[in-house]
Symmetry: C2
Subunit: 232 residues, 2 copies
Amino acid sequence: MKLEVLTKNDNRKIENTIIDGIRNLINYKNLEPGDKLPSERMLSEKFNVSRSIVREAIQKLEFYGLLKSRPQSGTFVAIGNTAFNGMVEDILRLDEPSFKALVETRILLELKTARLAALRRTDEDLTQIKSALEAYKEKVINSEDAVQEDLLFHLAIAKASGNSSMNTFMLIITPEIITNFEKYHVCDKGLAQEGIKEHEDIYQAILKQNPKEAKEKMKVHFKTLYQYCYNI
Amino acid sequence: MKLEVLTKNDNRKIENTIIDGIRNLINYKNLEPGDKLPSERMLSEKFNVSRSIVREAIQKLEFYGLLKSRPQSGTFVAIGNTAFNGMVEDILRLDEPSFKALVETRILLELKTARLAALRRTDEDLTQIKSALEAYKEKVINSEDAVQEDLLFHLAIAKASGNSSMNTFMLIITPEIITNFEKYHVCDKGLAQEGIKEHEDIYQAILKQNPKEAKEKMKVHFKTLYQYCYNI
DNA sequence: ATCTTTTTATTGGTTAACCAAATCAATACT
DNA sequence: AGTATTGATTTGGTTAACCAATAAAAAGAT
């Protein structure tokens, strides 16, 4: 029954081994930013694994900005030696975030995106937020589950914040939040009804382009969640 | 000369096409969370592309938590239809974050991680932060470039925050920050000297486990950067 | 009939062969 | 001598064939 986890760990382990090998190689050869790594073929031969494995390891390091691969040219070091070593260490030891960590991050991000959305929202942003709000309201008044519509409303605000980075991070943590909400039935306790009012308040603040009020209304909205999160 | 960008766009475009195809399939077949998608082989045949392409598209959707693939079993829908459609739309339209957006996000995250680190740091965390601080100081007093050591100090704090999610996000945005700092020579203006004092203040606050002070000292540290960022 | 065992087909993961673009060096031309 | 051109080589990207694990179905024993 735990086989799935085991194989996944194995995969993770071999990928991490390759990442560690690449790190050693860069240190041994003293490669600086802009320097070229050996080709994927040579790396796969050196580490006795297939090219796909090497490619995955490179892609992971590329995702974290440590390497940069250019088609028909090669893979290049993207940051300095010191930062590379320090960050690889962290990347290899990263563990899955807990639900508490996710909620904590979400609240932090959303207090900011609400404020920024009030400052920067376009008319197009506003109509999309409004549309998400209406979809949410319709579900709630029909007493249907509205977790998804709830999250989409918040994502619309994140998009309106004009900060692509925060928007991306919200997209990353949202599905896990949804899953946990539905699993622990966070929103079943008749909270959805008052949720409508809170959502409308946030929308109004963004409509009026009042950043302080937007953040404040978002904080009110999170009050229940906040307490819930810290009482698990 | 712009060919690299073009091919990359092409690659992106075909992957996005497949993602769109998967979305349509899920809608057409009304697949709910837990339902199984067609196998990678069938999808690659249906979309007239190779399995690798399909795999990459699936992996991207899995990264954002919309799908979940299990070895020797299949790929499964992970979230509800409504959320899936809304999020796919956003994912397809995501653009690269600007430097300003990155700095904005970094400041937001770090004011929080400093506070959390003061609350939750272990002794082990503390020694790692201290170690990063010493490495930074040594570089600065030798008048060497210390951008990397600077960032590693901040990453050590992020790790000490005990929030894996924020730690990951810091790791994601850090390399781009480093690159831009070095490009625009943000830290060349003799700021490094006073940076030592500011770093030490942050360290002391975390040592004393004083969250309010840690956040405040971090805010002081970011004051210059903050102004710089908003004056570009 | 029901449960266990065995077989068979399907799955994601892995490897290896193939392709077009980019690079670089040798050559031809001015 | 210097510059442009061309062709072989190297590169990351792509495709297709292969593998082990899984799950489902069929056969056998109780």
